[in-house]
Symmetry: C2
Subunit: 321 residues, 2 copies
């Protein structure tokens, strides 16, 4: 391993000068510059990030907390984060929480131990553990910290508008997990908007966003609400599972049963029929959150503590005309 000392010797200067050169700080003579550049080149020197981090008490690492990486929404978000930070030489430590609260604390501790520059979390965090630059993405209760979210109220309204333009008799809303803020928000606004218009609905509670849960919930839907002709699903995976069950039960979609999803995961374009859904900009959310965090890290002026991203209705083929 070649160190800054080796480079210094090779270039016949002191380590301090090399350091200044590398970090573009302070004066370095033009000829010295060249000697150093040459030495670095020849010795194939790369600065030791760990030593740097130790001194600065700050690394070029970002902690990313995801509820469940197997949920197709989050890889997209992660991609946005990674893409953004890569251009600035920051890198991402991945924490997959998987509904295991112990892991949150473990990761937070580890982030601290490794001097991460900042934390990006799609998992709700208590605000008492915010000794670091932190941006909450997606699952925010909003006020406490910096955050990015998609506009769930708007999404709810879009759903209700889309549904009320159709004919419907028996609406069933699949409520997402209680402990997921976004699911609750959506549920709240959907029910409110529906009530405002005097529309009746029933509710099927769901406890998890996990994949295997989707099919059992789909089963429950048809046994508990045999009359259902309209489903407002908690997310796309859930909606897709219902489409399939409906098909098995010979209910035609959307003729006998219409469905609207949420997320617009890549798969929702490939179902039969293609899923009408609300698009959340997962990649953009990750990107925006990264951008916000980057500004936080560099102590730039932040115009807004919260950014709210628009969602939009993607009209495909699972709603009746």
């Amino acid at each position: 391993m070649t160190t800054i000392k080796d480079v210094a010797q090779h270039a016949k200067v002191s380590p301090a000068t090399v350091s200044r050169y590398i970090n573009n700080r302070g004066y370095v003579g033009t000829d010295t510059r060249q000697r150093i550049a040459k030495a670095i080149e020849e010795l194939n020197y790369v600065p030791n990030e760990v030593a740097r981090s130790l001194f600065q008490k700050k690394s070029k690492l970002i902690g990313l907390l995801l509820p469940d990486i197997a949920n197709p929404f989050f890889p997209l978000l992660a991609q946005g984060v990674e893409d953004y930070f890569h251009q600035y030489g920051y890198h991402v430590i991945l924490g997959n929480i998987q509904e295991n609260p112990d892991k949150i604390a473990a990761y937070l501790k580890m982030f601290q131990q490794n001097f991460v520059a900042g934390i990006l979390s799609a998992v709700p965090l208590n605000s008492d553990e915010l000794n670091k630059a932190t941006v909450i993405v997606d699952r925010t209760d909003c006020q406490s910290t910096y955050s990015i979210s998609a506009n769930n109220q708007q999404g709810a309204q879009l759903i209700v508008d889309a549904i009320t333009e159709t004919s419907y008799e028996n609406i069933v809303i699949i409520a997402g997990p209680q402990d997921v803020v976004t699911a609750n928000t959506r549920f709240h606004y959907v029910t409110r908007a529906l009530a405002n218009q005097g529309v009746n609905y029933q509710v099927l509670e769901n406890t998890s966003y996990r994949f295997n849960n989707a099919l059992t919930t789909a089963d429950r839907l048809f046994t508990e609400f045999p009359q259902v002709d309209t489903v407002i699903a908690a997310n796309d995976v859930q909606a897709i599972a219902i489409i399939q069950k409906a098909h098995q039960l010979k209910r035609r979609v959307p003729k006998d049963l219409q469905i609207i999803g949420y997320d617009d995961i890549p798969m929702s374009e490939l179902t039969i029929p293609r899923l009408t859904t609300i698009q959340q900009p997962a990649f953009a959310m990750g990107w925006q959150a990264a951008d916000m965090l980057y500004q936080l890290i560099n102590e730039e002026e932040l115009v807004d503590k919260h950014r709210l991203l628009d969602v939009k209705l993607i009209t495909r083929d699972t709603l009746r005309k």
Copy 2:
């Protein structure tokens, strides 16, 4: 930030003793132990991983390279890796290559700069850059390094066996991207097995595993091979796109067109009809690779440089009886 020195003072011992205590190395008197424990507790001390890494020239970080995190196969693999390492206090730096070769070099350099303990890569790596413990997973050319892969030959055989049990006239094989080793291997063995049995087939080349590519390839399939009645898809996403296109063109699956996929991504259970496919144990591959890397890091005896995981046929509803 409380340091080991603070703890030492508080417990009236030297930093060295505290270090010995923390790392369970060398002798520490019973009463000293307790004083130290108490001090750590009271001061809420957590060891500084960066300082540790600097000294050891080795961190508790693992570099993970993925070709494309949006491809549903890889989040599962990543989950296996993360799950495994979390139990040993190692953590994962995520590198999403996204078909951008420059990123590979950038990440490799960065892994070195951060003293990662080891590298896990689902992206093929030149063996000249192996100054670190490295395990290649999935996309291996095999011989050079340590590796985990699913048995692509077995998968190919399973496909051919399944197909030849059905009735078929016009088989089209969708070849995966040329530069993906596993795709080539499968293609090689499928074509060979087919040829061995004197079965004819045609080939549709595909250049990418990306999502948006799947639909255009599905289009090409039906325009270039209007007679096709059997498709061997390169992966599940591709297969699902074809199922949808077939439906739009009023070709019944599997009656008019039968399809077999590859991967068994979670979605493949939710298609209509449900996709028959070859299951690759994505999570297990990640887990096993992590296990292998862990042994490599700890210089344990490795019985096998390569582990080959079985795949299996998941019979669902897209093949004719």
